[in-house]
């Protein structure tokens, strides 16, 4: 079904934009230092968005606005997970920013703007819309990272993020322009039709290389990963938690739109490139993470490794493997949010706990939180019955089914390496000698948010179908 100018297809986007403008004005007249009203309005906006999109979930695939926009199951489910994860991330953010110099209305507004950008990314049906959504997301994220103006580290990482993001966008745009020249259209379905009729020429390959490089840059996959640890380390922890989790889900949507939908006829052209990038990421990420002593950097390198596993899910090029990759990325976003939640949780008013050794004695003096953080680490390592295990299993299963046996073995071997550094954190919490207990000064809402997030990891781990059935639906596979 094609319908051109029907604003009903972008209801949630319009609602979000209006809500942002309203929150902007309301925030202007707020005297409250804690910005409770802004926070509440932001969270209510996310809830309403969740309800709107949940009700539209069963709709059929619609292409609108002269082919630039698509509403389908994939976009609906990705949007829902974006709202849900951002919702938790904002609960983490509030106590963290309230006693740093960050409690400003702009924090919430830029977060909402980046969510709008992600919504555009996942339901874009043309290269132009994908790019604009990506820029909307990236610009808000650059500003969020730079928001802590007095911190040298944050400013440095903001500039780094900006330059690297600009470079990646440049690669992506160059590739898009070549594809546009070869196929004569920016609209993804038309590009796919073009390559169904005509063979994949040299220009198409050349453009595709640049698109894959741009995507790998944005994901932070090896060999385009250099920026990622610095930025995760340099940004304020609550912003790192946001950057590390939610945009990955949107980037999955972008990857599906750019590679799978536009070049679905020629999977073999890009799957080899992705395979190399993915295996390198799995290897480098896991090995370098072993030598990290800073928790944020450790999580950053583990992010690189996880991106590698996720890309391995896209490599086989079947609908079932895409849904496994989607499952992986949503679960990963949830887990990494909990991981940076630990860093936020341990930070006190004027001190940021970042070293792994800072966690010493947590297990003995605060066994509940020790248990929670162990769940996160074990889950990230991918041990059953926690949730990190199931998507990994699915991805390896699809690799083996499609004949990538050696690759699967390599990836599993490196995930054993990964186990080492995740367990090292647990060892520090429970078995390292420590004289005094680490002080926990975080507020009650943060305690609840961390506990809820970690318990979710267990519940979803025990009932893995809960998320997976939606991922299967997104790619039209009966769940």
């Amino acid at each position: 079904m094609t319908d051109s100018m029907n604003l009903a297809f972008i209801t949630s986007e319009i609602f979000l934009l209006v809500a942002i403008c309203v929150i902007m004005i309301v925030d202007l007249y707020q005297r409250d230092k804690e910005r409770m009203l802004t926070f509440a309005l932001t969270q209510i906006t996310l809830l309403v968005l969740f309800i709107i999109d949940f009700n539209q979930l069963s709709q059929e695939r619609v292409i609108a606005f002269s082919g630039h926009w698509v509403n389908d199951h994939l976009s609906g489910i990705l949007k829902l997970s974006i709202y849900a994860i951002s919702f938790i991330a904002l609960f983490y953010a509030r106590p963290f920013i309230s006693h740093r110099n960050l409690m400003r209305g702009e924090y919430y507004m830029l977060t909402l703007f980046s969510i709008l950008g992600m919504m555009v990314m996942v339901s874009a049906n043309s290269f132009l819309t994908v790019y604009l959504g990506l820029e909307l997301l990236s610009l808000s994220l650059y500003a969020l990272v730079a928001l802590q103006r007095d911190s040298k580290l944050a400013s440095e990482s903001a500039v780094k993020y900006f330059v690297m993001g600009g470079l990646a966008s440049g690669f992506l745009l160059y590739g898009i322009s070549l594809i546009y020249g070869a196929s004569g259209s920016l609209i993804i379905t038309e590009v796919a039709n073009h390559y169904q009729e005509t063979p994949f020429g040299l220009i198409g390959k050349f453009g595709l290389v640049f698109i894959v490089i741009g995507l790998a840059f944005k994901f932070g996959a090896v060999p385009f990963h250099m920026w990622l640890p610095d930025i995760y380390h340099g940004s304020p922890s609550s912003i790192t938690a946001f950057i590390a989790s939610v945009p990955k889900v949107a980037a999955f949507g972008m990857t599906v739109r750019l590679l799978v939908e536009a070049f679905g006829q020629s999977v073999s052209e890009w799957s080899t490139m992705l395979l190399i990038v993915a295996l390198l990421s799995v290897a480098f990420g896991n090995v370098i993470a072993v030598s990290q002593s800073n928790l944020k950097r450790l999580l950053a390198y583990s992010a690189i490794a996880h991106i590698g596993y996720f890309l391995l899910g896209i490599v086989p090029g079947t609908a079932a493997s895409y849904s496994a990759a989607m499952y992986y990325i949503i679960v990963y976003a949830l887990m990494t949010l909990a991981g940076f939640g630990i860093v936020i949780f341990m930070s006190s008013e004027n001190h940021e706990y970042q070293k792994i050794t800072d966690l010493r004695g947590l297990g003995r003096y605060h066994p509940w939180y020790g248990l929670m953080f162990s769940i996160v680490m074990v889950s990230l390592a991918g041990i059953p019955p926690f949730i990190g295990f199931w998507p990994k299993l699915e991805i390896f299963r699809h690799l083996v089914i499609n004949g990538y046996v050696l690759e699967a073995v390599i990836a599993i071997a490196f995930s054993v390496v990964g186990l080492f550094y995740y367990l090292k954190v647990i060892k520090e919490m429970f078995f390292a000698e420590s004289a005094d207990s680490p002080a926990i000064t975080s507020s009650r809402s943060l305690k609840i948010a961390v506990s809820v997030n970690c318990i979710l990891l267990v519940i979803f781990g025990l009932m893995p179908d809960n998320i997976y059935q939606y991922c299967l639906q997104a790619f039209q596979i009966a769940g």
Binding site: M24, H68, E106, F113, L132, L136, S140, L202, I203
Partner: protein, 213 residues
Amino acid sequence: MSFQVIVFYSFAAWLIFAALMVISSKNSVKAALFLVLTFASASAIWLLLEAEFLAISLIVVYVGAVMVLLLFVVMMLDVDYAALRQGFVKKLPIAIVIAAAFFAVLYSFITSGEFSAENYAAPAAKAADYSNIKALGRVLYTEYFIAFEIAAVILLVAIVAAISLSFRGRRNRKAQVVSKQLEANKRNRLKILKVDPVESAQPEVAEQEEAKS
């Protein structure tokens, strides 16, 4: 050789020369000015392509606004350009190899590949009264409606981000407030007190004064 071909080649030559000078000139202000020249020649080539509106907006936006800002930045910042150039000679061979390979690929596209002259017929010239702006405006608000709106939101983000990064709250400067100055009058400012003449406590001083006079 027709006039158009001569115009094209001369502006193309200018463009390549200027672009080379941008990266090779030692003086950063000169490099920025050469960039202006690059834009100007590019816009002349666009004029040849009958894209008048784009040519003019390139001049107005890039030459007029962006480059002036860039020049300000270049002149204000004290960047050690000699340090930036370190390793230029060492990396030059790799750079040349990559550039040559890139050139070879692009050249193959336009000579024998999908972009070659056989695949793309020369477009027919538009009528003299053909309006670029009309055509652009028509697709901008219909076909590219959603992209246009998203671009507007991006500008909004830019505004919010710029303000949040640079605004540091209201500062109390020692500025003159004209209305307050005009409001001031004798009654509010001046207080006249009747002071009793004080009898001198130090007679010696008084005597000296008398002696002086």
